[in-house]
Symmetry: C2
Subunit: 421 residues, 2 copies
C-alpha cells in the first residue's frame, strides 16, 4: 500500500458497506486505491472532517435537456402533460438539447450526482455536454415506432448511430444504450427486434414501464396481458434491462422482474407530480429487484436532485407502512444505479471507479443520533463532487463548467422554444 | 409617502396578492409602510434583484425542542414512535427544552420561517428561545388529563401560568394559546372546560386531530362519534381553533370545520414518515377551510423547513389528482398561518407586520417559466430573513444567535437525554 495518492479524502464520515464509518480514501487515476484508517497523503487533499462522504449519486432515469421546460407544464396529468411537452419538444434541435443538458449537468454535479442515465432526442447534444462537464453517463436515443415499420427502421438507425458514435467515449465515461420509449408507443415487433440487437451488441436496454394505470389498461386492451408480462414475452427482460417508473406492477410482474434480473429506476417525485401513483418499492426490494432512483426530467420534478428524491421515496414507503431501511435507500441512490447500468462504481471500496459526493454536516444533521437518517434531510448542495477521479465541484463551485454562461444560454434557448409555440 | 425607510428591500420578485411582481418594499419600525414601484431608500438597504421575496413563512404546528430527538426514533409507526419519544421526553427539563428550541429557531430562521406555533412542555424554555432568537411565535403547554380530574386541574394550572407569564411578551412577538394534546389523551369534560376558558380569555386553541385511523376508531369506540364531531359537540371548534394533521376527516367533518371557521395545520412530511396518511387538503381548500403548513417536530420530519413541506404537500395533492394552484400553496405556507393564529402579518402589504423571507434565485429556478413553481424546488436556505422589522438572517448568517454555541449545547443536552435512557 502506498500512502501517497493523487487525491486523498481525509477523516470523512464515509458510507462504506451499508454504514457510516470514519475513514480515509485514497484515489489514483480514476480508481479508489485505499479505504481505511491509516494516515494517507495526496497531491490534492480534501479534509472531510464533519462531512458525509457518499458514493457518487446515480440519477437512474432522466431526460437531462428537459431542464429547458422546468415549470412549463404545471398542474397537468401525465397524458395532458405529454401533449404539451411533445408539442414544444418537436422544436428542439441539437443546440437546444446541448444547452439543456449542460444546465442539467451543472445542477446534478452541484447536488452530488456523478452519473446519469438519459433517454432523449438529438443525443449528440447530450453527449457533448457529458464530455464537457466531466460527468459519467449512459445515453440512448428515445425510440418510438408507433406501429409504423418505416419509422421503426429510421428510429433504429438513429439509435445505432448514437451507439457507434459515442459508446465508450471520453475514456469510458460515456456509454450508450438502446432506449425504446414505452410499450404503448412501440410495437411488439419493434421491441423484440431491439431486444435482439441489444443482446447481439451487449447493450443495456432502458424503457418506461407501467408509469400510469392508463398504460396498464391500454396494454391489457391491446395485448390481453400486463405490461411486464408483455415485455417478458418479447424477450426484452434480462439483467441488462432497466425499467423506469414501474408504478403499477402486481406481485406476478415483480416476480418476473426479479427472476430476469431487471432493475427498476424509481422516480417518486415525478410519479407524484404527474398523478401516476406510488410504486411498490418495498415489495420489489423484498423480492430482490435492484431498485435505483431517478429524478425523471426537470419538467416533472422540478429538480435533478437524487438525494431529494430518495427522501420522498423513503417517506412514501413509510406511508404505505412498509419501511425500507435508510441504509438501503442510500444504496438505491448510488450503488444500485451503477449496478443497474453495469458500471464498476457506486461503492467506497478499493478498485472501484472514483465517483464520490461529499456533503457538509449542517445544523439539520445535529444532533446525529443516526447518520443514515441523512436521507430525511435536504441534501441538494454537495460540497465536493468527484467523478472518475477528477474533482469537479470544489466547495460548491463547479470547476468544469462556466455557470453563468450555461444559465444564459439555456435561458435564451428555452425562451425561443416556448415563444415559438 | 416617505421615500426614506428604516429598511428598504429593492427590486425583488415579490409575492404580492397571489402573484410575483417586481417591486420595492419599505419597512419602518416593525411594519411594512410601502409596497410599490417607486424608488425608495433605507437606513438599511437590501438589494433583492434576482431574488424571491416572500411573506415570512409560518410553521403552523411544531414541537420546537424535539430537534433534540431528530433521527432518534426512525422506522416506527406513530404509536410505537410515541412510546419511544414519550419515554425520553419524560427526562426533559427547562434547560433541555431551551437548547432544543434554540436549535429549532436557528434552523427555522435560516430557512425563512419567521413564526411558529408550538405545543410542548417546559414552555419557559421555549419562551426564552423565542425572546433571544427574535422570532415570532405562539406557544402553549401541551395538556393531557387522561381522564384524571386531579391531573386535569394541574395541567390547566401549568397552561394558564404560561399564558400569564408570557402572553404578549417581547413587544408582542410572543403570544400564548391553550393546547390540549388530542381527543384521545384528553377527556371530554377537560376539552369543554378548555374551550370555555379559551372563550373567556380570548385565547387561540390548538389541538392534534384525526392524525391516524387508529384515533378515529378509538374515538368512535369511546364516544360513538367522529373526532371533529366530538370536538364540535364540546364547543371546542370556532375561528380561534387550529387543528393539526386532520388526516382522516370525512366530508361532513370538513364541512363542520369550514362552518366553524377552524384552521387546519397540515403536516405532510410527518404524516408520511409516521405512516399516518394523506390529508384531504384539496377538499378542505375547496370547502373554504383555512389550511396552513406545519413541519411537526424534527423527530418526525426531520427538518423544520416549511418550503420543503409545502413541496411535499403539493406533490401529494397532485398524486390524489386534486391539483391545488401553486399560488395557494405559497399562501398556505405564509399568510394562512398568520391568519389561523390571529397575527396581522403574512402578506406583503402596507400596514402588515414586517415578516419577510428572501431566497436567492439559483440554477434550479432557471429557466423561470412560472415563478410560482418555486414550490417544486428545494428552498430551505433563506438568504435574508426579517422578523418584526429586524434583519435576523443576513446572507444566510443568523445575526441574533451564536450558531456554534447553540449546536454545541443542543448536542450535549441531547446526548445526556438519550444516554440516560
Amino acid at each position: 500500500m502506498r500512502n501517497m495518492h493523487d487525491l486523498a479524502i481525509k477523516n470523512g464520515l464515509c458510507f462504506v458497506d451499508g454504514e457510516f464509518v470514519e475513514c480515509n480514501i485514497g484515489i489514483d487515476g480514476n480508481r479508489i486505491t485505499y479505504v481505511g484508517k491509516a494516515e494517507i497523503k495526496g497531491d490534492i487533499e480534501i479534509i472531510a472532517a464533519n462531512m458525509f462522504v457518499l458514493p457518487g449519486l446515480f440519477n437512474a432515469h432522466t431526460h437531462a435537456a428537459m431542464t429547458l421546460f422546468r415549470g412549463y407544464a404545471e398542474g397537468l396529468s401525465l397524458r395532458q402533460w405529454l401533449e404539451k411537452i411533445w408539442d414544444v419538444e418537436a422544436r428542439l434541435d441539437e443546440k437546444a438539447v446541448y444547452w439543456g443538458s449542460m444546465l442539467a449537468c451543472l445542477e446534478m454535479l452541484k447536488s452530488g450526482v456523478t452519473a446519469f442515465a438519459d433517454m432523449y432526442i438529438h443525443m449528440d447534444g447530450v453527449a457533448e455536454a457529458v464530455g464537457e462537464s466531466g460527468m459519467r453517463a449512459i445515453i440512448g436515443y428515445g425510440m418510438a415506432d408507433r406501429g409504423d415499420a418505416e419509422k421503426a427502421e429510421k428510429e433504429l438507425e438513429i439509435a445505432l448511430e448514437v451507439v457507434s458514435k459515442w459508446d465508450n467515449s471520453f475514456g469510458g465515461r460515456l456509454r450508450c444504450m438502446l432506449t425504446p420509449h414505452a410499450p404503448y408507443t412501440c410495437s411488439s415487433e419493434f421491441l423484440r427486434k431491439v431486444a435482439e440487437i441489444g443482446r447481439k451488441k451487449n447493450l443495456v436496454k432502458h424503457i418506461h414501464l407501467s408509469e400510469t394505470l392508463w398504460e396498464v389498461r391500454e396494454i391489457k386492451k391491446q395485448y390481453g396481458t400486463k405490461p411486464a408480462e408483455l415485455l417478458d414475452s418479447l424477450g426484452f427482460l434480462d439483467d441488462k434491462t432497466v425499467v423506469a417508473h414501474a408504478v403499477w406492477l402486481d406481485d406476478e410482474e415483480i416476480k418476473i422482474l426479479a427472476k430476469r434480473g431487471v432493475s427498476v429506476a424509481h422516480c417518486p417525485s415525478s410519479n407524484l407530480k404527474l398523478s401516476s401513483g406510488i410504486a411498490r418499492v418495498a415489495e420489489m426490494v423484498d423480492s430482490g429487484v435492484n431498485v435505483c432512483i431517478g429524478t425523471d426530467g426537470a419538467a416533472s420534478n422540478n429538480m435533478l436532485c437524487v438525494m431529494s428524491d430518495v427522501r420522498i421515496a423513503a417517506l412514501l414507503q413509510n406511508l404505505r407502512k412498509k419501511v425500507v431501511k435508510a441504509s438501503k435507500w442510500l444504496k438505491a441512490a448510488s450503488e444500485n444505479g451503477y449496478r443497474a447500468y453495469g458500471f464498476n462504481s457506486g461503492k467506497i471500496s478499493t478498485g472501484m471507479l472514483a465517483d464520490i459526493a461529499i456533503f457538509e454536516r449542517n445544523l439539520r444533521h445535529h444532533p446525529l443520533h443516526d447518520p443514515t437518517s441523512l436521507i430525511f434531510t435536504e441534501n441538494c448542495e454537495a460540497y465536493h463532487t468527484i467523478v472518475d477521479g477528477e474533482l469537479l465541484v470544489e466547495e460548491g463551485i463547479v470547476l468544469s463548467l462556466d455557470e453563468d454562461r450555461v444559465l444564459r444560454n439555456a435561458e435564451n434557448v428555452a425562451r425561443r422554444l416556448i415563444e415559438g409555440s
